[in-house]
């Protein structure tokens, strides 16, 4: 059964995507790439959370959790990249 919070998560993600993407564009390219990919992974997780209620529940559940794991890894990469560039004095 679809839970309301899952739908709200997806709707908020979709509504705020333009703001997030537009803001990310002003950032340095390396960090932007990882951060954007991480955000997309989160949104994918939201989508599969809802889809698993209708089809392939087990497989989509695995993909959903895998998407969160990927998002976490990408977040680490984005932050590491940011720290490296700052320690180097660049952007």
């Amino acid at each position: 059964m679809i839970e309301a919070s899952e739908v709200i998560d997806l709707v908020m993600a979709l509504v705020l995507t333009p703001i997030i993407v537009t803001s990310l564009r002003t950032m340095p390219s390396a960090r932007r790439r990882y951060a954007t990919a991480g955000f997309v992974a989160i949104v994918v997780g939201y989508v599969f959370t809802i889809l698993e209620e209708f089809v392939l529940p087990e497989a989509l559940n695995v993909i959903e959790h895998s998407a969160y794991a990927v998002a976490g890894v990408l977040a680490v990469l984005a932050l590491l990249q940011s720290r490296r560039s700052q320690s180097g004095g660049g952007r």
């Binding site: 998560d9 564009r25 002003t26 950032m27 989160i42 695995v62 794991a69 976490g72 977040a75 940011s82």
Partner: protein, 501 residues
């Protein structure tokens, strides 16, 4: 593989990854964002990441079968993630933009400072005239020189209403507001402005000021104060004028002095000529008497002479003849210079006339043990004054004999062309140095041939030769080196005209 295991593994990875990300977010420097944004971004980023630390931790506990107690809170907390993330990204974006704007501002400010320094230190004035006729910018020099005015601190500058920039030639003023507002192009237009009762010369240039579309916004006006330079130029011109006048006056004075001096010299020269002519004439008569009576005495007509008396009479005669020759030379040169003589041309057999002269001079040559020869073509007849021609040849031969040592050789050679004939007198005597070639033809100038040897004669012989040759319409040239003999070539026309000397 069991999906539960995969999900559990994914949740574990997600928990670890988001925990590491949270740790990084809390500890990493964020200097690029600036201090005012750093704390906000760090705090909200930490909250956003904490959401998934909690969610993944809840999932790990749930799928490990430990507890599902956090699952109820998970959904509510997860809703916060995207808004917080959006806020973090948005604030970070603003922080980056603020930083870029600050950097651009600093750059613009430093460039403005640089330009202001350049403009203010420039010796010329710079202004920006808008299309509305307002001066939107004026350098210190422009404000000082043109005495720009403005009602208050916030108003734009304006030209003084009574400012006039007068051109040297009729035309519109280069500081005319209408022209400049319309976007004028001027290049070093010189005009004179009167400010505080003082005139200043300005060289004004202007270029249109345009926007990106090409629309005219006004003019950039620059000018240079040329007053000092113009004043220096005027001073120089006046000094030149004064100097020219002084020079002209000095030249006039010197010319007058020279004319007076020339008149005095001419007068003195004429007096000298008269004196020389008179003295020479008066000397010649008694000299002829002395020579005549010496001949009478030497001939024994007045009684027998002893050998000693004869010898002394001979010396008296030689000296008298020599003195008479000098007097005759003086008379000749005076006659020529005074223009009293006349060329009387007649048909002359050159070989016969000059041959006779050479024959007459043979005793003198023999006395000095010098061989004197003549070579001339037969039947060479010319129309010339024989007496003047002989005077020239006589002087040249006499000169050659005088400066040729014993056992030397003097030759007279006559050659002819269709229009001219030449008499070449060559000797192998002491010669004449090249630097003396001009001087030997000047009157009363003699060249010392050998050290310690006093020149003989009056120094008029060659001067007479030159003048007489010129009167006959010919030329005389000299070829000689010191110690290597001399060659004089007299070239005369085969038909001389009747002219007065």
């Amino acid at each position: 593989m069991n999906p539960e295991i995969l999900v559990g593994a994914a949740d574990t990875i997600a928990f670890i990854a988001f925990s590491v990300a949270l740790a990084l977010a809390l500890t990493m420097p964020m200097k690029q964002l600036g201090p005012q944004y750093e704390r906000v971004v760090r705090a909200f980023l930490a909250i956003a990441l904490s959401v998934y630390v909690l969610v993944s931790f809840s999932n790990v506990l749930e799928h490990a079968g430990i507890t599902a107690v956090l699952d109820d809170y998970e959904d509510y907390v997860e809703i916060l993630f995207v808004p917080f993330l959006a806020y973090v990204v948005y604030v970070a974006s603003i922080a980056f933009q603020v930083r870029e704007i600050s950097r651009a501002e600093r750059l613009v400010r430093s460039e403005h400072e640089l330009l202001t320094t350049i403009v203010d230190t420039s010796p010329g004035g710079i202004m920006l005239m808008s299309s509305a006729g307002e001066i939107t910018f004026a350098s210190d020099t422009a404000r000082d020189v043109l005495e720009l005015i403005r009602p208050d601190e916030r108003a734009t500058w304006r030209l003084p209403p009574d400012l006039e920039c007068t051109l040297p030639v009729p035309g519109r003023s280069p500081l005319d507001v209408e022209i400049l507002a319309a976007g004028a192009t001027l290049s070093d237009v010189l005009c004179v402005v009167t400010l505080k009762g003082e005139k200043r010369a300005l060289s004004v240039s202007a270029s249109p000021l345009k926007d990106g579309t090409g629309a005219v916004l006004g003019s950039v006006v620059t000018f240079v104060d040329m007053t000092d330079r113009e004043q220096a130029r005027q001073d120089l011109l006046e000094a030149q004028s004064r100097y020219s006048l002084d020079l002209e006056r000095t030249v006039d004075e010197r010319t007058a002095e020279l004319l007076d001096l020339n008149a005095e010299l001419t007068h003195a020269n004429m007096a000298k000529r008269d004196l020389l002519a008179n003295v020479s004439h008066e000397l010649r008569t008694p000299l002829n008497v002395i020579i005549g009576f010496t001949d009478v005495l030497a001939g024994g007509l007045a009684g027998p002479l002893t050998s000693e008396q004869a010898k002394q009479l001979k010396m008296v005669k030689e000296s008298s003849v020599q003195l008479l020759g000098m007097v005759n030379d003086l008379l000749d040169i005076e006659r020529i210079e005074a223009g009293y003589a006349v060329v009387m041309p007649e048909s002359v057999d050159v070989k016969e006339v000059i041959g006779r002269l050479v024959d007459m001079m043979q005793p003198l040559a023999a006395q000095r043990a010098i061989e004197l020869t003549i070579a001339a073509p037969d039947d060479l007849r010319v129309i010339t004054d024989p007496q003047l021609m002989l005077q020239v040849v006589r002087n040249l031969v006499s000169n050659a004999l005088k400066f040729t040592p014993p056992y030397g050789h003097v030759s007279v050679e006559i050659t002819a062309t269709n229009d001219t004939f030449s008499v070449t007198v060559t000797d192998d005597g002491i010669g004449i140095a090249e630097e003396d070639h001009q001087r030997v033809f000047e009157a009363f100038k003699q060249v010392h041939g050998e050290p310690g040897r006093k020149p003989q004669g009056t120094g008029l012989g060659l001067a007479i030769c030159k003048d007489v040759t010129a009167v006959l319409g010919g030329t005389i040239t000299l070829t000689s080196q010191a110690g290597e003999g001399a060659t004089f070539v007299v070239t005369l026309p085969r038909e001389s005209q009747l002219t007065s000397m």
